[in-house]
Amino acid sequence: MARLAMVLDLKKCAGCYACVVSCKMENGTRPGVNWNQVRTVEWGEYPGARQTFIPTQCMHCDNPPCVKVCPTGASSKRDDGIVTVDYDKCIGCRYCLSACPYGARIINERDITNFDGKITPYEEEGYRVHRLNVVEKCTFCIQRVTKGKLPACVVNCPGKARIFGDLEAPDSAIKKYIEEHQALNVKGTGIYYVPPEGLDLAQLPPELREPAFVSWWQDVVHPVGKTILGIAAVAVAGSLVINSARKGE
């Protein structure tokens, strides 16, 4: 077992967007499709005004609501903690888009390229993987991580604000970092933040709470619906049996 996770040290983040750019370069996503974002937060009055940057992305939840609602099993949680989307299985039903509390998923339906009417060899390569009408999101750069490399956003962060690793490995560097810097876990997810002094913690992504419609749908409507259909079928079968038995009398 493993639990891959990421620390975002906001004290070190300079808001340079190298993570956003390197993510697009590594993953070859379409124009307008970003798997990670950087949000700017400001507080205080001059001369004590402060500013910080909060990078966000797929949180790789412990119990991902997106996986729970996926009708095909395209979205799944790997043993190493990564939440993935199998593009071959995805039918683009958007259930997961509604279910994700962090808005981390995106479905690209528009066939747009970087240059009008032209497609670069780089794009050709990227778009072969990232088809239209399937759901995409951050994969922790699974293609790199499974080869022992770090995610592109981690490698390319000039401030070294991103720390990636396995929480369950012996001598886990990320675990040490979390302890030393008192990183806060967004509960229920694989993401940690080191907040700068004075930041209202409510600005960070909230701890994982399954949206109410997901619980209602999966835990109430599914069993109730099956029961209703079952009762109707049993009533009809019972009527059929009794009526044909009486006919024979």
Binding site: V69, P71, T72, G73, A74, D88, K89, C90, I91, C93, R94, Y95, L97, S98, A99, P211, F213, W216, W217, V220, V221, H222, V224, G225, K226, I228, L229, I231, A232, A233, A235, V236, G238, S239, L240, I242, N243, A245, R246, K247
Partner: protein, 224 residues
């Protein structure tokens, strides 16, 4: 005095009414079968992704005839009969309630006395009401899922469980409705009314005696 000859059969549904019924029936069954696969994972997994994608396309396509075709047929071909049907469905008398109470025993083949019924018995009225309400719920929750960009994300999210629940309730109604019309020994003749348009006088007298009395009285010229 005119020598009255009673007809062998009575016209029950005009061609437009029957077409309206079947356009709803066919589109609904297609939507139900394809929709269940999009809800219950076991069913969807059995189809595989390509199969499920195909089901999804059928589901989206059938939304159009389901929503518009039946309404169009009824509005153009049988507006008066449709209004009359709606009026009757939403008018509940004491005898309707006692029919509902007495009917379960009859359904399972036990002898009971059912109160006299009009053109639609209380069970048919109930089926109609559930179908109408279900139709409204399904289109109100279905279209937002098909065009999520035009609706609020919260509405789209909650449309999913409501749509699924509505589908299973309507599926149960359909199972009962189809069984009574096709197989149940007491009522299966009623299917003829929806296929040929007419039912035998004998069947009508037993099942819809108030309706028979009314139309035979209407036909009889008033005696001076």
């Amino acid at each position: 005095m005119v020598n009255e000859k009673l007809p062998d059969s009575l016209e029950r549904f005009s061609l437009a009414e029957r077409l309206g019924h079947w356009s709803h029936a066919i589109s609904f069954i297609a939507l139900l079968l394809t929709g269940l696969a999009l809800v219950f994972r076991g069913f969807g997994a059995a189809l595989g992704s390509e199969g499920l994608k195909f089901f999804q396309q059928i589901h989206h396509f059938m939304a159009y005839p389901f929503t518009f075709l039946t309404l169009l047929i009824l509005a153009v071909g049988a507006p008066k009969a449709t209004v009359q049907w709606l009026k009757e469905c939403f008018t509940w008398t004491k005898s309707d309630w006692s029919f509902i109470r007495a009917y379960p025993a009859s359904f399972f083949g036990f002898k009971t006395v059912l109160p006299e019924q009009g053109k639609y018995n209380a069970g048919q009225k109930l089926n109609s009401i559930l179908t109408i309400i279900g139709f409204l719920v399904m289109i109100a929750t279905g279209w937002p899922m098909l065009f999520p960009a035009s609706f609020s994300p919260g509405l789209v999210a909650w449309a999913r469980p409501v749509h699924s629940l509505g589908a299973t309730v309507l599926g149960a109604v359909l199972i009962g409705h189809a069984y009574l019309a096709i197989l149940h020994p007491h009522s299966r003749e009623s299917l003829k009314g929806m296929l040929k348009g007419s039912i035998s006088l004998e069947y009508a007298r037993v099942h819809h005696s108030l309706w028979v009395k009314r139309i035979l009285n209407d036909k009889r010229p008033p005696s001076a």
